[in-house]
């Protein structure tokens, strides 16, 4: 924690939870937000540059690696990279085959993308919380920026925009395939005629709507909540480093322990997101 002498703990946490926001501020005009209040004032038409940059970068890494494997893929003896990619693809395909009963060539690649992309984004959580933001702040100060007002969040999945972006895309797919496979009438019937039969139509609609809309909401919130909480704990541990030798040492131990435990969480969350997407799409494909 490089700037502990000038920041209180609260400010430090706040600093770490603020995205690098680019947008039009009503008073300061177009530019990066200098604090979280300004970022909030920018309203909807602003962009979290850090979230976007890291998520696209990690997505690029994922696709670059798999594309490289796909270009050199051989049915003969696989090399190391191909072996690794095949291992993951086998795993994903097994899950799709187990949970998805319909026929849709899009579901398996979708599941693979979700699994790896979410995993990589979550993996950024294991990078020490101050490392990249601090380097970035120092770098930006070369261009005259005040390092204390340079924000950077490197874990895209701690930004609800990223998790809900994915969840909404999955929701759109659920709606699309529900309409496509069941027809508008079939989909409407599914929403209104169960579980209480046609005389309980309003209650049916209420219940089914809740269950429908809870799908993207739970997808997005679950991932965001887990990662946000994990990130928060890393930040709290990082505060201990400024509390003297004993605190710093125990903080180090805590960080290692939490990181090891967190490896489980980030993998599990990526897996859950993937499996739930498969299951939701399977439900969308089912005709009654």
């Amino acid at each position: 924690m490089a700037s502990s002498d000038t920041l209180t703990a609260q400010e430090y946490i706040q600093h770490h939870l603020t995205n690098l926001t680019l947008g039009v501020h009503p008073e300061n005009g177009f530019g990066f937000a200098h604090n979280s209040a300004e970022a909030a004032e920018m309203g909807f038409w602003a962009i979290h540059v850090d979230t976007l940059f890291f998520s696209v970068l990690l997505g690029g890494v994922f696709l670059w690696f798999f594309k490289k494997v796909a270009d050199r893929v051989t049915a003969g003896v696989p090399g190391g990279a191909q072996n690794f990619a095949e291992w993951i693809i086998d795993f994903v395909e097994e899950n799709v085959r187990g949970s998805f009963s319909g026929k849709n060539p899009m579901v398996a690649p979708l599941a693979l993308t979700i699994f790896i992309w979410v995993f990589l984004m979550n993996l950024m959580d294991l990078v020490p919380v101050d490392l990249i933001p601090h380097l970035f702040a120092q770098f930006m100060s070369l261009f005259g920026a005040d390092p204390h007002h340079v924000y950077l969040k490197i874990v895209p999945t701690t930004d609800p925009n990223a998790t809900f972006g994915m969840a909404l895309m999955v929701f759109i797919l659920i709606l699309y395939y529900s309409f496509k496979m069941k027809g508008p009438g079939g989909f409407a019937a599914e929403l209104t005629l169960q579980p209480f039969g046609k005389w309980g139509m309003p209650a049916n609609l209420l219940l089914e709507s809740i269950s429908l809309f809870s799908k993207p909401l739970s997808l997005g919130l679950r991932l965001f909540g887990n990662l946000y909480a994990g990130e928060m704990i890393f930040i709290l541990i990082a505060i201990m480093y400024s509390g003297g030798l004993i605190m710093a040492l125990s903080g180090g131990l805590l960080q290692i322990a939490w990181a090891i435990f967190h490896v489980l969480i980030i993998t599990l969350q990526a897996y859950i997101f993937m499996v739930l997407t498969i299951v939701y799409l399977d439900m969308a494909h089912h005709t009654h």
């Binding site: 038409w45 602003a46 696209v56 696709l63 798999f66 594309k67 893929v73 003969g76 693809i89 398996a108």
Partner: protein, 156 residues
């Protein structure tokens, strides 16, 4: 922690990633996996076939070996027989040959005997004549007793 335009940007990025993955990444790898599965299945089937063929071959080889043994035994027996025949023939030939040689030798001996006898006869005759001459020179004229001597010599 504000919901803003990033949401849509993320949705678009996500859609693009999925599209790319579906178009360029997933199919070749899955195809390769399926290919390999097929190849392995074929390989196993081929191994099974090879195994069966090996057993068949072993059986065939056993039959062949048996046949070859029988043939070899036949050949040996025939050779034995032929050898016996040859020996028999050779014995016969030798016997005939020896008979011929003996006969020829006998003939020769006979011829020689006759010739010796002839010579002897002539020499005895001449000796007898000479002896008679010597005896008779004193008593008889050679011309008057010639016929007597000749008839005598012929009786030898």
């Amino acid at each position: 922690m504000n919901i803003n335009l990033t949401l849509f940007a993320q949705m678009i990025a996500f859609a693009l990633f999925v599209w790319f993955c579906m178009k360029y990444v997933w199919p070749p790898i899955v195809t390769a996996l399926a290919d390999r599965k097929m190849r392995i299945a074929e390989g196993l089937a081929a191994a099974e076939r090879g195994h069966q063929e090996k057993e068949l071959g072993e059986q065939r080889a056993l039959v062949l070996i048996k046949e070859a043994k029988t043939t070899a035994a036949d050949i040996v027996a025939q050779a034995q027989k032929r050898a016996n025949e040859i020996i028999e023939e050779a014995k016969n030939d030798a016997r005939d040959e020896s008979g011929r040689v003996v006969a020829a030798a006998q003939a020769e001996i006979d011829r020689e005997t006759n010739r010796a006898r002839e010579e002897l006869r002539e020499r005895v005759a001449s000796l007898a004549v000479a002896a008679a001459e010597k005896i008779l020179q004193k008593e008889i004229d050679i011309d008057t007793h010639r016929g007597l001597v000749d008839s005598f010599a012929k009786q030898l």
